[in-house]
Structure formats: structure tokens, C-alpha cells
């Protein structure tokens, strides 16, 4: 079974802080990590390899520093890592990104047939959850998002039975592969890297592919290939200032009384 996992290097949004004075994002010093959902996609692919044999290829798109994300998954023992990096990729929105990755998957597939493409549910910096569905649509592969269980794989019939998480339960599906899935954290627990893999990852070299390597056309990527554009960024709006009810510290009973009066007066309660 040959799985291709698409990962993204993201700033650790839990460490992102807002500068209280300027109300802007403080990005400096925020560590880069592999998008946490993507780690579970890598783990899922490794588990399938452990069970059914085959190979795990991991690709990421980004600047040269994104090689660090590949190094991280290399420690888990993936077989092949490819960095898609080109100036022409910069500024791509989700539609253009899915185009670039699709081109790369097609090239991988031409060398070594791909059975499965895996992505994380969404990236924590963008939260769009669009690139996975985009790649599946472009590759004309069946798509299952929010996968929470992989129950079985029938390598004869080439089908995977899995469960998808929805608002009030789970949907069980049987899907022919090659297919694409996006996965949830609940799917598995990411393994702890072995020491030999850690050491091997310290001086590995990722393959780097540019736009020509994957035969990508300029009109489909970067700003030209992106229908959407971010036009404004601002801090979340604050509501108009409310009313402060005094005496909360020294006379809580009075403050509470006044609050309830106001609520009754406005017919809130």
C-alpha cells in the first residue's frame, strides 16, 4: 500500500500572542510545528504500512525552512520526503495549493502508484479544511473527511472501511481506493520515534521539487491561480462597552440586587 501524506508547517497558534498595544499579531519567536492533525495522518499511513506493507511518502509545500517539518516526520520512519518549494507557489490560496499538490501527487503516482492520500482535518493556522477536498476532486478520487476510525482494508477488492465523524454520530462507509481521507486527532496516537530514526533524521536530505519538476502552470498557482485574496486583517471586534455595576467587591449583595433589577427591567429575565 503506497500512501502519500500531505503535511503543512504552521506557526504554533497556541503560542501566538496579540500585542496589547498595537493589537497586532506577534509572530516573532513563535515556533513552527507540523500541523498537529497532519501528524495523525502520518501515523495512520505508518500503521497501514506496518499492517499491509508498502511505503509512506510525505510531501509538504513551503519555503526551504519547511524541510524541518519533513525532518520531524522522518523521525517517525517515513520512507520518502519531498519538499515542494518554488517562488511561484507563494501567495497561493487553497484552490491553487490543491493544484500544486495534485501535480506532485500525479508525479509520485507515475513513479510508484499511489493507493491512498492522507491529510489532516485542517491546518491550525488557516482552519480552512479545503485543500484535502480540493486535491481529491482534482485527482477524481473518492473523498472522506473527518475520519475517526479506519476499520479494515480489503487489498483484494481494494476497499477501505472507515468511519467519519459528523455532528451527532459517526457514518460508516466503504470506499474504493485510491481515495483521499482527512483525519481527526482521535483516529490514533502518534508514535514515539525510535532513536535510530531520530539519528537518521538529523542529516537527511529531502527531495526538493520546483514548479517545473511537477509540470505546474503559472496561471494555476500563486496570485494568478488564487480566486480569493485576504484584503484586511484586524483584531476581533469588541462589542460596544457595557455597563459596569459597582460595589461588587465590598457589597456583593447590593451589586447582585442591582444586576437583577436591570435584567428584570429590560425583561431579559
Amino acid at each position: 500500500m503506497h500512501s502519500v501524506v500531505c503535511i503543512k508547517q504552521v506557526p504554533d497558534t497556541t503560542e501566538v500572542r496579540i500585542d496589547p498595544k498595537t493589537n497586532t499579531l506577534m509572530r516573532e519567536g513563535v515556533p513552527s510545528i507540523v500541523n498537529p492533525f497532519d501528524m495523525h495522518a502520518v501515523e495512520a499511513a505508518l500503521k497501514l504500512r506496518d499492517e499491509y506493507g508498502g511505503k509512506v511518502t510525505v510531501i509538504t509545500m513551503g519555503p526551504p525552512q519547511a524541510v524541518e517539518a519533513l525532518r520531524r516526520v522522518k523521525t517517525l520512519g517515513v520512507d520518502r520526503t519531498i519538499l515542494l518549494s518554488d517562488r511561484a507557489f507563494a501567495g497561493s490560496d487553497t484552490l491553487a495549493t490543491s493544484y500544486i499538490i495534485t501535480q506532485a501527487v500525479k508525479k509520485i503516482d507515475s513513479e510508484d502508484a499511489v493507493d491512498l492520500v492522507l491529510c489532516g482535518k485542517q491546518a491550525i493556522d488557516g482552519d480552512t479544511a479545503q485543500v484535502g477536498p480540493g486535491i481529491a476532486t482534482r485527482l477524481n478520487m473518492p473523498l472522506v473527511t473527518y475520519v475517526i476510525d479506519i476499520d479494515s482494508v480489503d487489498t483484494e477488492k481494494k476497499t477501505i472501511t472507515l468511519k467519519r465523524s459528523v455532528e451527532n454520530g459517526r457514518t460508516a462507509l466503504c470506499v474504493e481506493y485510491p481515495m483521499l481521507m482527512t483525519v481527526l486527532k482521535e483516529l490514533n496516537e502518534v508514535r514515539y520515534a525510535s532513536l535510530p530514526n531520530m539519528i537518521l533524521a538529523t542529516n537527511f536530505k529531502a527531495e526538493v521539487w520546483n514548479k517545473d519538476d511537477i509540470g505546474a502552470e503559472m496561471k494555476n498557482m500563486g496570485l494568478d491561480g488564487s480566486p480569493t485574496a485576504v484584503r484586511k486583517i484586524f483584531s476581533p471586534p469588541v462589542r460596544e462597552c457595557g455597563e459596569m455595576i459597582p460595589h461588587g467587591i465590598e457589597q456583593p449583595d447590593v451589586a447582585v440586587h442591582n444586576l437583577i433589577e436591570k435584567l428584570s427591567h429590560n425583561k431579559t429575565i
Partner: protein, 436 residues
């Protein structure tokens, strides 16, 4: 090493990528040895708090002119000591234009940034660095340390020499049977906060320019009468505020270090310095403060202890990183010697011991070896004397029409009301004797 080859045998294994470990690693790597360094934290410096002060001299012995590229905060131009009582401070200090000229004496740093940079230097010189990996045990063969065992699968590694740079409470030292049980009165618990504050405010409040910096050592009320110290260091746009005290005393007095740092921050002499800032980071850390008497055996067959792991801290002069780097470098030099001799026994590695014995490290620690014990037995230095100093200074500077000669009498009387004069003189003499 090609992409798919892997060896579990190295010339040197270094456990811990702090200043001591990295110094040893760089020294060995420069001589062409095959070095692997293991770090428990996510990255070098991530598990670290202490210090905040980096000395130029020992650092330049490892990387000449490091200050041209290393991530430093401010070079220190002024050192202050404040003796605090409840609502006052008797202050002393030294400020010099000479400290303002390159090369500087010392710098305030963020260890999380500096250690990362420092470790990267080692990696650039060919050292293999593995993070997020805990070394759990040593592998012994015929009474000699030959390897280590990590918490990862297939996690054994072998080397001619192991360097334990894994900090106070070194697990390696313990597993190799070197640390006598650590007594809690040889360990101090320190907490540090990074307190963000506008650059201009820092420069105004501390009377410094955009590059220079100040350290303030706080004694007396800062530690609520416990034996220990507190400090404030200026960074570029933040302050490092720390306080440390011996665990044994914290336990006895039932005071938590968290209370201690709060009381430092709210002290009337300190609060105005912090106004308008906010806590950005909060860290706690163990430091060995045992002095000379606490130093374990640090050189045995196949194993060297360096830095905090060897309990190398000079508690009077807050020079942990200085001692750490120098001991790391000595260990590296000894290992190079051992390699050329092909002898990795304690005897083959004895260069380390010799270098240590003849250096300022052991000599300074020896000199101050009675300090801890003395202050521990004379707690008035942390409780009563700051109060006396306060009262005396208050009387002395107060203008109230009393002639100076009369004032001196009053002051002396106030002091001798609190403590007999013979006792005071004895304490002063003894105190001077242990630190002289």
C-alpha cells in the same frame, strides 16, 4: 553518514545540551571526534531558567567573538546590591564606563535563545544533536561506563566516554553511583519570571542607554528571611526577576517560592520598577548550591560530570554558566588527551581533574566552602541585619536637628538593643573570614 546508515557507537556521548554540555561537545568536535549530544527538552534551552547572565571570558574560550552574532540582551554596565527590609533598601553598586566598552564583561541573555544558538554552533561543527530524548540509565561493563540507555526504542548508545551534563540532580551521576543522596539543604529552588516592559521605561528607570544593562542582587527581605537571594536583570524589553532559596528552609518555614517571588514583586522598593509591565514567562528550576563540600567524584572510568551535574555553582557569585562552560571545556580537553592516549579509564581522563583542581573553579569553591554552613547557622544575616542596616541608614540620613555625633550614638544604641555588641563583632569577623 549516508542517508540510511546508522551507528550506535560514538567517540563521545554528551547528555544535556546546556552550556556545559555544548562547551564539551564543541571542544571535542573541533578535534575531529565523533560526538552525539542528547537533550531532554524540545530544544536546547527549553528546560532552562537560570542565570540570565552570561560571562564573556569563558564563552570566548569556546567561541571567539561570540558576542558579534549570539542572541544577547544587554551588556551589563552596572551591578547593584540592595539590602531590603520591609519598606526600605540600603543600596550599593558599581557602575563603570569600562564595562560599557567592548569587549564587555557580561551580558543578560535569554537562555532559551542563547542555548539554542550555542547548540547550533556545535551542530555546525558536526555534533549530532538529538532532542526530546531522556537518558534513563548508564550501561556498565566491567565496572566501566560504556554507554547510555534512552527512553526511545532501540535507544542504547555506546561511546568511549560519556559526559554527564544533565544538570542538578543528575540522573547519570546517580545511576553511575556517584552522587551521594542529595540533601535538600544542598539544593536551592529558584523561580524566575520574565516581565515585559517597554524599552524606554527600562532605560529611564534603570538609568541606562539602549545597549547597557543593570543587575540588581536583592538580599534581606526579598527572601523573607530565608537563606537565598533574589535578582533583577534588565533585558532589551523585559526584566528577569528571580528568587531562590534552599529547599530545606522553604520546607521548614512552609513558604512556597511562588509566595517569595510575589513578595519580591510587590516590595515597595521594587514595585515602581515593574509598573506597567506584565508577566510573560514563568519558570522554576533546581540549582545545586552546595558549594565545595557538595561536589561529588566527577571523573571515573568512562564518565565525566560537568556543570551543574558536578554541583559546580559558586553561590556567592551567581556564576553557574561560567563554571559550567569552563568545566565542559576542560572535560573536552581531557577527552581529546584520552583519545590520543587510547586510555578512557579514570586515569586516562585525569587531565580533567588536574585542570579543574588548578582552575578558579575548584579554588573558588574551596575558598568559599564554609559559606553555606556559616550562613545557615547565622540566619541573622538574612533576618536581623537587613533590619539593622535599614534603621541605621534611616537615622543617619534623617535630618532632624540632632548633631552627627549624637546620631552615631543613637544608631549604635539601636543596634546593641537588638544584638549584643560582642555578638555583632564576632559575626562580622566570621562572616568576613568565610568570604574573604
Amino acid at each position: 553518514m549516508s542517508d540510511n546508515s546508522y551507528s550506535n557507537k560514538y567517540d563521545v556521548i554528551i547528555v544535556g545540551a546546556g552550556p556545559a554540555g555544548v562547551s564539551a561537545a564543541i571542544t571535542c568536535a573541533k578535534a575531529g571526534l565523533n560526538v552525539i549530544m542528547l537533550e531532554r527538552g524540545e530544544h536546547p534551552g527549553s528546560k532552562n531558567v537560570m542565570g540570565g547572565i552570561l560571562y564573556r571570558h569563558p564563552t570566548e574560550q569556546i567561541i571567539p567573538e561570540f558576542y558579534k552574532e549570539a542572541p544577547l540582551e544587554r551588556h551589563i554596565t552596572e551591578e547593584r546590591v540592595w539590602l531590603l527590609s520591609k519598606d526600605s533598601a540600603v543600596t550599593m553598586g558599581y557602575k563603570s564606563k569600562r564595562f560599557d566598552e567592548e569587549p564587555h564583561n557580561c551580558f543578560s541573555v535569554f537562555r532559551s535563545k542563547f542555548d539554542k544558538w550555542f547548540a547550533q554552533k556545535a551542530v555546525d561543527m558536526g555534533v549530532t544533536l538529538i532532542c526530546e530524548t531522556l537518558v534513563e540509565d548508564v550501561i556498565m561493563k566491567n565496572g566501566k561506563v560504556v554507554g547510555i540507555r534512552t527512553n526511545r526504542d532501540y535507544g542504547d548508545l555506546y561511546a568511549n566516554v560519556i559526559v554527564a551534563a544533565d544538570g542538578a540532580n543528575s540522573l547519570i551521576a546517580a545511576r553511575a553511583g556517584l552522587h551521594p543522596e542529595v540533601r535538600s539543604n544542598t539544593l536551592a529552588l529558584a523561580v524566575k519570571e520574565v516581565y515585559s516592559l517597554d524599552r524606554e521605561k527600562i532605560e529611564d528607570r534603570f538609568n541606562i542607554d539602549s545597549e547597557g544593562g543593570v543587575t540588581i542582587e536583592l538580599l534581606g527581605d526579598a527572601t523573607q528571611g530565608l537563606m537565598g537571594t533574589a535578582f533583577i536583570y534588565t533585558n532589551k524589553d523585559s526584566l528577569s526577576i528571580g528568587v531562590g532559596a534552599f529547599i530545606s528552609q522553604l520546607m521548614k518555614q512552609k513558604i512556597s517560592v511562588y509566595d517569595l517571588i510575589e513578595s519580591v514583586k510587590t516590595h515597595p522598593m521594587i514595585k515602581p520598577l515593574l509598573k506597567g509591565g506584565e508577566t510573560k514567562e514563568y519558570l522554576a528550576h533546581l540549582i545545586p548550591e552546595g558549594g565545595y563540600r557538595a561536589i561529588p567524584k566527577y571523573c571515573i572510568d568512562g564518565l565525566l560530570l560537568v556543570g551543574d551535574a558536578a554541583m559546580l555553582v559558586n553561590s556567592l557569585h551567581r556564576e553557574g554558566s561560567n563554571l559550567a562552560m569552563t568545566s565542559g571545556r576542560f572535560a573536552g580537553e581531557a577527552i581529546i588527551q584520552a583519545h590520543s592516549d587510547g586510555d578512557f579509564t579514570a586515569k586516562g581522563l585525569s587531565t580533567y581533574k588536574e585542570l579543574m583542581e588548578h582552575s578558579f573553579i575548584v579554588q573558588d569553591l574551596k575558598k568559599y566552602k564554609n559559606t553555606e554552613k556559616f550562613f545557615e547557622e547565622h540566619m541573622q544575616f538574612f533576618t536581623l541585619y537587613p533590619q539593622i542596616a535599614d534603621d541605621a541608614a534611616y537615622e543617619f540620613f534623617k535630618v532632624d536637628g540632632i548633631p552627627k555625633k549624637e546620631k552615631q550614638k543613637i544608631i549604635w544604641k539601636q543596634i546593641t538593643n537588638k544584638i549584643p555588641s560582642w555578638r555583632l563583632l564576632l559575626d562580622i569577623y566570621n562572616g568576613w573570614r568565610v568570604v574573604k
